[in-house]
Symmetry: C2
Subunit: 367 residues, 2 copies
């Protein structure tokens, strides 16, 4: 157990943005909430998963909804705190710690805010290793752990709990319907996990990883070095293209933001064209019909100068960017993982192939 330092919060925000792969929203506002809590004297206690008792109970937290809604409804830990308390009442046992469903985007910060509010430590782990659009796309679900019970609360006095669900898909369907009715954003608390389950089936060290990634970007900025290269080095990633956004088609559908961006190469990549598909997150990068990278590997579009991640909901014509790929967690690339979060789960008609490091494109070789 250690306290997260005040200056690590900004690094976490940068890292969570990169790991958000275009979705899950950049946690600007959550960062401000956390900094405000620190100014009030609150601190986040971060727990190494190895420190968890096998019998401890961990609350898995997420904002569920459409990222765009958070542009007008400010983030708050209150709804998720109510979901936590509702779940405790439902199962008749208090939680010992909280953790995030996804380290990518704003959900990286939710357990920090809730942990400070409820005085609970935050486990250094998540269950996506990135951001994904649906609640069943987790390492817990891939390993067969039930998703229900699942608690949902809003900022009014509305709260419900999915007590039983036929399967993870039904939890997603019922939860999504409720969240849409509540205004397309709600705080959720998933099925309580034991310490043993977290240690065996979560993606460990995620928060530390995001902080480390953010630190690398900060160091590069201070040294006037290339933050894109720093990210690739820190994460064993590959550069797919340096270029310019040429076109974006984007629509809101079924509670998601879906679409495609076309990017044209510049500099040594001049003449190349990349097509990037997205469903909240970037899901595939293709060039001349060939797949360069796809889910579950991470595809991230960075501002070419600052290394700041650019979200699928705000990417626009003319931006100078670098497109990179980072490796997915092995749980996600296992057969069961690919069934849940591979290209076909996103509607693509091709199988997963790990992204390749292009010769001379920068970044380290994949381990």
């Amino acid at each position: 157990m250690r306290e997260i330092e005040a200056d690590e919060l900004e690094a976490l925000a940068i890292g969570a943005g990169v790991l958000g792969t275009g979705g899950g929203n950049h946690p600007h506002l959550e960062l401000m909430c956390a900094q405000e809590a620190y100014a009030r004297g609150k601190r986040v206690r971060m727990l190494d998963p190895a420190e968890l008792d096998d019998d401890a109970r961990v609350a898995v937290l997420a904002f569920m909804g459409a990222p765009l809604v958070t542009k007008e409804r400010l983030p708050e830990p209150v709804s998720a705190c109510r979901a936590v308390r509702l779940m405790e009442a439902h199962v008749g046992r208090r939680f010992d710690a909280v953790m995030s469903v996804e380290i990518g985007g704003e959900n990286a910060f939710l357990p920090l805010l809730v942990g400070m509010e409820l005085d609970l430590p935050v486990v250094d782990a998540d269950v996506m290793g990135r951001a994904f659009p649906e609640v069943q796309m987790t390492s817990f679900a891939i390993r067969g752990l039930p998703m229900a019970p699942f608690a949902i609360a809003d900022i009014r006095d509305n709260a419900l709990i999915i007590a039983h669900a036929e399967n993870a898909g039904w939890t997603e369907r019922l939860g999504r319907r409720a969240v849409v009715e509540l205004g397309s954003i709600a705080g959720t608390c998933g099925a309580p996990r034991t310490g043993a389950e977290v240690k065996a089936h979560a993606i460990l060290g995620s928060t530390s990883r995001a902080i480390r990634l953010g630190r690398a970007v900060e160091r590069a900025r201070r040294a006037h070095a290339d933050p894109v290269a720093a990210i690739l080095a820190a994460e064993s990633g590959a550069l797919l293209l340096r270029g310019k956004v040429e076109d974006v088609s984007r629509r809101m559908a079924e509670g998601f933001v879906r679409g495609q961006a076309r990017l044209g190469g510049t500099g040594t990549d001049a003449g190349r064209t990349l097509l990037i598909d997205f469903q909240n997150e970037f899901s595939a990068a293709r060039e001349d019909g060939a797949v360069l990278a796809s889910v579950p590997d991470l595809i991230t579009i960075l501002d070419a100068v600052t290394g700041e991640a650019i979200g699928a909901e705000v990417i626009r014509y003319g931006q100078r960017v670098a497109v990179i790929a980072l490796p997915a967690d092995p749980i996600m690339t296992s057969p069961a993982g690919l069934a849940a979060v591979g290209p076909r789960a996103f509607g693509f008609d091709f199988d997963y192939t790990p992204f390749a490091r292009r010769a001379g494109a920068g970044g380290e070789a994949r381990p």
Copy 2:
């Protein structure tokens, strides 16, 4: 406490059909379920509300969904039984009895089926005194009792509980969304009511009333007398028109069946035209722009010969019918009642006026 006799079940079905006011589905299939349970030796124990301990806990049950769905998915008490058990677990206390949310239509039978399954008595009461389309249109809600918690279960393994709701409207919104996702039909168990609450705020004697009404129709049929006149006499109702269905416009919208039927008078009513609006139930009867009857009073369309009630989802061109009005319970015509279930709550631009008995139209004067 008394047992409901086997031959009272059919009378209850006839009476519940009449009190269904075109909605809530005629309980043909539920009648067969109950008769099958009786053939297996099960019996319904009916409890006079006066026999309830003040501290008893009563489960208020309903099928929630679109009536048309029950034409392809057969009724079963299993989903409602699961909702009852989920509510017991949620509040940490067993129920002592069950009752129906509405005596009109198939929901009149649900507590009988569940009561036989769970070995619980059925309270002789409901909270609508008829059928209404939305869950908050109850005497409990009108008297200000909270609707949440509210449990919903389907025939698979899906079950959820609305633990808290801002108000009764939110319970309806969240519940309706979940039910639509579950296939537009689910068993529900409302907030547990104490015996004292039931005695003070329910509509008492509803099941007996429906059986009595059905008995009157059966007697008239056996005597080759007019069952329509028998219903009017039993319920202090008024005949609005005898005639023929000339036109029906009907659409499914927002989980409801909505529309309008045009009826032309025959015999002594020749030359008259009645327009009947419906949202699951018949909600207003108008002639030349004048309102003859409206919610919360009961408007029922009966087969002119058999006295059998005709549902809004099956009424069609050419049927020979009698349109009648029956008085609503005083709770429903109180100011708070009219705010919840009066004409304006159904989108009409006029206020409630009790229906009038037309001279020479048959039936007794209103008390």
